[in-house]
């Protein structure tokens, strides 16, 4: 059997702010299998952002072990983590985080640029990824010429273009209206064969996931499977 995509073992994260020690994660153990769609919920201060950063290899745990795709990444250097992010993880942020004054196509090409993919292959793969999110007609538009929903779809294309093992979405609908939110969530849940970890504090967004992990004070307080909203819609329909 293949290794789980994410395997956290008793992970803690402590920040020292002067004399005060802030325990953002107090021993989190979590396993996410390939193809799962997991929502991480919790109020602000619950440690969900810190968990997201650790899982996304943007931060390292203070103690405990984190295996990503079976490889221990808990003690890797910054450069090694950068390469891991590049190969294994795709990010979708609340505020899109696209490069301004840079076309949709080039934004999507960005991870491939750092992966050392040739210009021609970059262009082909980025065009393909944008087609996958339904933006074939918007390749050369700048972020400022796109709607919020479209910008988030460009960001999803950028996250997908490297064929990552894990897609991390941090409040992906936080800056969108409800109709566009539904579109984006539909897109995320329609992605076949990709593991998605979604961080949110909204229940109707978490409803799209097949599993909801709830954090409070740096600990997992519940971990429940549910019928995802998409299937619920299908069943109702």
């Amino acid at each position: 059997m293949a290794a789980p995509v994410v395997a956290l073992e008793d992970v803690t994260r402590v920040f020292s702010l002067g004399d005060v020690e802030v325990h953002a994660l107090r021993g989190v153990s979590l396993t996410i299998e390939r193809g799962e769609f997991v929502a991480v919920m919790g109020s602000s201060g619950s440690g969900k952002s810190t968990l997201m950063n650790v899982v996304g290899c943007l931060d390292r745990p203070t103690s405990g072990r984190y295996r990503l795709d079976g490889e221990d990444v808990s003690r890797r250097s910054r450069a090694q983590l950068a390469r891991t992010r590049n190969r294994t993880i795709g990010f979708v942020f609340q505020s899109f985080n696209l490069l301004a004054r840079t076309s949709a196509l080039e934004n999507v090409e960005l991870p491939l640029l750092y992966a050392g993919v040739s210009t021609k292959a970059r262009r082909a793969r980025a065009t393909e990824a944008l087609a996958r999110v339904g933006l074939s007609e918007r390749l050369f538009h700048l972020p400022s010429q796109l709607s919020g929903g479209q910008q988030q779809r460009v960001a999803i294309a950028r996250a997908l273009v490297t064929n990552p093992s894990l897609l991390l979405a941090d409040e992906p609908t936080g800056a969108l209206d409800s109709r566009t939110s539904v579109e984006v969530m539909q897109l995320l849940s329609s992605l076949e064969g990709i593991t998605v970890v979604l961080v949110t504090h909204e229940h109707d967004v978490a409803a799209w996931a097949g599993r909801v992990v709830t954090l409070r004070d740096g600990r997992v307080v519940s971990d429940a499977r549910q019928v995802p909203a998409r299937e619920a819609v299908k069943e109702a329909g």
Binding site: L58, A82, N86, L99, P111, Y114, T162
Partner: protein, 409 residues
């Protein structure tokens, strides 16, 4: 990501803020241009000095007669003829450090051709003089001992006088030129000699044999020499040593006791030349260091703008890091941006500097002297400035925490 990609990325980032990039590069442009132009000026000044002294000859001593002294009124050097023809012969034969000595008898007079007249200096001299000064005729034969012995009424014209009397490009050979009513046949025109270190025109003069000068033009001095003596120092001898020997000989011959002032004076052209040379060198060094400072200021400008740029683009850096840019790749991106600013500035600076050097040399009438090594050095230095001043901002960018950078507003 290859160097080509990194360069393309950097150039695009610079293009995005064209005006800002240009203004930043302007610091380097001015710096490099200043170095090139200033060094060219310095070199031009030095070449000018060298040229004038090459025309004069640097291994020369000029012995001038003493001052007249009447009732406490001292007339200055040259007012009293104290040098004799015997002194000249003694200089030629008795001083070991002296290669040759030639008199120039001098008279300010009006010279007349059939058509024109011109006030100039008429000099009586010997063939040795032309050897000492390395001065050849461009037309006609040089002066010979035979001319001297015969007391021939023959004349060599300086180029300026030839032009004033006969017009440019004319052939005055064979024409008569009168000085104080005495007719001389023009047998030669001398090649151009240029200016003296004091700006005097060497070519505004005519020469006749010293014997003829003595008998026909200025007969009243007897054994005294109404002019100065040019002394050529023997090759390999120092001019100071020759000067001491000449001084000793003349003091002895003029029977000057201890404590008595010299009744002659000696100009050492090598000393004057080296003093002027030193002046030119100092000027060169001064100009170059001012220019180097402006290049440094240009570098600080780059650092300043790169720091602003890194802060402004914190979020961009965060995004790049999130999608997998390593710290080294971020460092390279910003370093190459700074380097590109410096190198583009440096190349433009070379262009501007060459143009400025050309303009300046044209307006000063100096030869255009652009040293390729200085151009290479200035360009290389601007690159170095780019790396040096770009390094800190680039390191700062590469050390950013992606989480903080992504949250930056």
């Amino acid at each position: 990501m290859g160097p080509l990609q990194t360069t393309r990325l950097a150039l695009r980032a610079l293009k995005r803020n064209t005006l800002r990039s240009f203004l930043t590069a302007l610091g380097i442009i001015i710096g490099v241009a200043a170095v090139i132009a200033m060094v060219a000026i310095g070199e031009g000044a030095r070449a000018q000095v060298e040229e004038t002294f090459a025309a004069m000859g640097t291994n020369l001593l000029i012995v001038m007669p003493g001052s007249s002294s009447a009732g406490g009124l001292r007339g200055g050097f040259g007012t009293q003829p104290t040098l004799t023809w015997d002194d000249l012969r003694a200089l030629q034969t008795e001083v070991p450090a002296v290669e040759a000595a030639a008199p120039t008898l001098r008279l300010q007079a009006q010279v007349q051709s059939d058509e024109q007249n011109w006030g100039t200096s008429v000099q009586g001299t010997t063939p040795t003089y032309f050897d000492v000064r390395r001065w050849r005729p461009r037309l006609g034969p040089p002066m010979t001992e035979a001319d001297l012995e015969a007391g021939a009424k023959v004349m060599w014209l300086g180029l300026t006088v030839a032009e004033k009397l006969f017009g440019p490009d004319a052939d005055p050979l064979g024409h008569l030129v009168r000085v104080k009513g005495v007719p001389f046949t023009v047998v030669g025109v001398l090649e151009k000699k240029g200016q003296s270190p004091m700006g005097q025109d060497y070519d505004d003069t005519v020469f006749v044999p010293s014997s003829t000068f003595k008998t026909r033009l200025n007969p009243g001095l007897g054994n005294f020499l109404s002019g100065v003596i040019f002394v050529q120092v023997r090759a390999g001898e120092s001019t100071q040593r020759a000067q001491r020997q000449v001084t000793a000989l003349l003091r002895d011959r003029h029977r000057l006791g201890e404590g008595q002032e010299d009744d002659f004076s000696i100009r050492n052209l090598a000393e004057v030349a080296s003093a002027q040379q030193q002046g030119a060198d100092t000027l060169s060094a001064l100009l170059a260091s001012i220019a180097a400072v402006s290049l440094l200021v240009g570098g600080i400008g780059i650092m300043n703008i790169m720091l602003v740029s890194v802060t402004e683009r914190t979020r961009e850096i965060g995004i790049r890091m999130a999608v997998g840019a390593t710290p080294a790749q971020i460092l390279a991106q910003f370093l190459v941006e700074a380097l590109a600013l410096a190198i583009v500035g440096g190349l433009l600076g070379v262009g501007v500097g060459l143009l400025a050097a050309q303009q300046l040399s044209a307006s000063f009438g100096w030869p255009l002297l652009v040293r390729p090594d200085v151009v290479a050095l200035a360009t290389g230095f601007s690159g170095l400035v780019g790396v040096g001043f770009g390094l800190y901002p680039a390191v700062k960018a590469s050390r950013m925490d992606p989480i903080t950078a992504l949250r930056f507003e």
